[in-house]
């Protein structure tokens, strides 16, 4: 018991006798401890897609130094990661792979949707881009911007930490049965879909 580093300096427990117990112990509920440790050991998976990935890498590099939050270890294998930062636009071709990688991650896992493209399709509202990654995986934090600067990404990561620690995220998940509570019926597009050919209008 004396080995738990949480307790700080444990050297004088013995010499203090039983009195040492008074000032050397932290008591907490086990859930709080679990939440605390989950929040403090969030390892992101490298999942760079587009321009946002460059900013994500910049966040991890020397100047912004994500290591300050214990987060610099970008894991190449999803099995070792608990946070997926979806950095960039998700194409229809990429979507199944994204979901597969998400499924390979261990529970509990979190998702940050970085940038407007991942959050809503951004300026690319067309046949190729999934309009919001929350149709594929449940998103916990949305980082706005195109691209979100490193500061924004860090803010969203800290927000995620707070939400994990306060239990907010797990509560939300239970509420939504583990999903993002978004249901879209996307009928597959095909050439047969009737299209009106209109003269170019100005909008």
């Amino acid at each position: 018991m004396a080995r738990i580093p949480l307790l700080g300096d444990t050297n004088n427990i013995a010499s203090d006798g039983l009195e040492g117990l008074e000032h050397n112990f932290v008591t907490a509920r086990i859930e709080d401890l679990v939440k605390w440790s989950r929040a403090r050991s969030c390892w992101p998976a490298t999942f760079g897609l587009a321009c946002c990935a460059i900013e994500m890498m910049a966040t991890g590099a020397a100047h912004y130094d994500l290591a300050r939050y214990g987060m610099e270890v970008f894991r190449a294998s999803p099995r070792q990661a608990d946070l997926m930062i979806v950095a960039g636009r998700v194409s229809q071709k990429m979507a199944p792979i994204l979901r597969q990688i998400y499924d390979q991650m261990m529970e509990p896992k979190w998702v940050i949707s970085m940038g407007v493209c991942a959050s809503s399709g951004g300026m690319f509202n067309n046949y190729a881009i999934v309009q919001g990654v929350d149709q594929i995986v449940p998103v916990d934090v949305y980082a706005p911007g195109c691209p979100p600067g490193p500061e924004t990404l860090m803010h969203s990561i800290l927000t995620l930490h707070d939400n994990i620690q306060s239990g907010e995220l797990t509560r939300r998940r239970e509420l939504n049965q583990g999903g993002a509570a978004i249901d879209l019926d996307l009928s597959p597009m095909s050439a047969e879909t009737p299209v009106e050919i209109v003269e170019k209008t100005t909008s």
Binding site: N125, Y127, A181, L186, E192, V195
Partner: protein, 178 residues
């Protein structure tokens, strides 16, 4: 429209006796100081071979344009029959610092042109892209398959009769996020 039909017949009668300026045996025009050749699909290989012998050492670009909603373009040489699909090939001559662009009228229903792979293997990916996005067939291409879209995709999205594929943005509170 009658105009186009007329010119249509003309072309069929006398492809050989096009009277305007020619270069490498095909009609030539200029667009903003850039040389544009207009070979027929059957002439394409021959023209490109000639150009290659003449020092045009690299195929810079192969792409296609769908003129469905803009049929009456005016920049074609007189007598040429405008088709819905046009394949655009850019070549460059490094020795003289010159570029040339070939606009090929590829057809309306089943656009087909010969592949340039045997002359410039660098066109492989570009031709696959044109097939993928426009459905232009390149005869003799070594790997005629989709490149950007998934293999099981239907349709060719850059055609003008393919919708953009917009999904309406929802602002209704019922679709609440969390």
């Amino acid at each position: 429209m009658t105009e186009t039909e007329e010119s249509n017949e003309e072309v069929e009668e006398k492809t050989e006796e096009y009277s305007g300026p020619t270069s490498y045996g095909v009609p030539v025009t200029e667009s903003h100081d850039q040389v544009v050749l207009h070979p027929a699909p059957t002439q394409l290989l021959e023209t490109v071979t000639l150009l290659k012998e003449d020092g045009f050492c690299m195929a810079i670009d192969v792409t296609a344009v769908d003129y469905l909603t803009h049929p009456g373009r005016k920049d074609l040489p007189a007598g040429l029959n405008p088709e819905r699909f046009e394949v655009v090939v850019s070549l460059i001559n490094h020795d003289q610092g010159k570029r040339v662009r070939l606009r090929v009228q590829a057809g309306t229903d089943n656009p087909t042109v010969p592949s340039l792979f045997d002359l410039f293997p660098g066109t492989e990916a570009m031709e696959r892209e044109a097939w993928d996005l426009f459905g232009v067939v390149f005869e003799g291409h070594p790997d005629h398959s989709r490149i950007l879209l998934p293999d099981n995709w239907e349709g060719h999205p850059l055609r003008k009769d393919h919708e953009v594929g917009r999904i309406p943005v929802q602002f209704s509170p019922e679709v609440g996020r969390h």
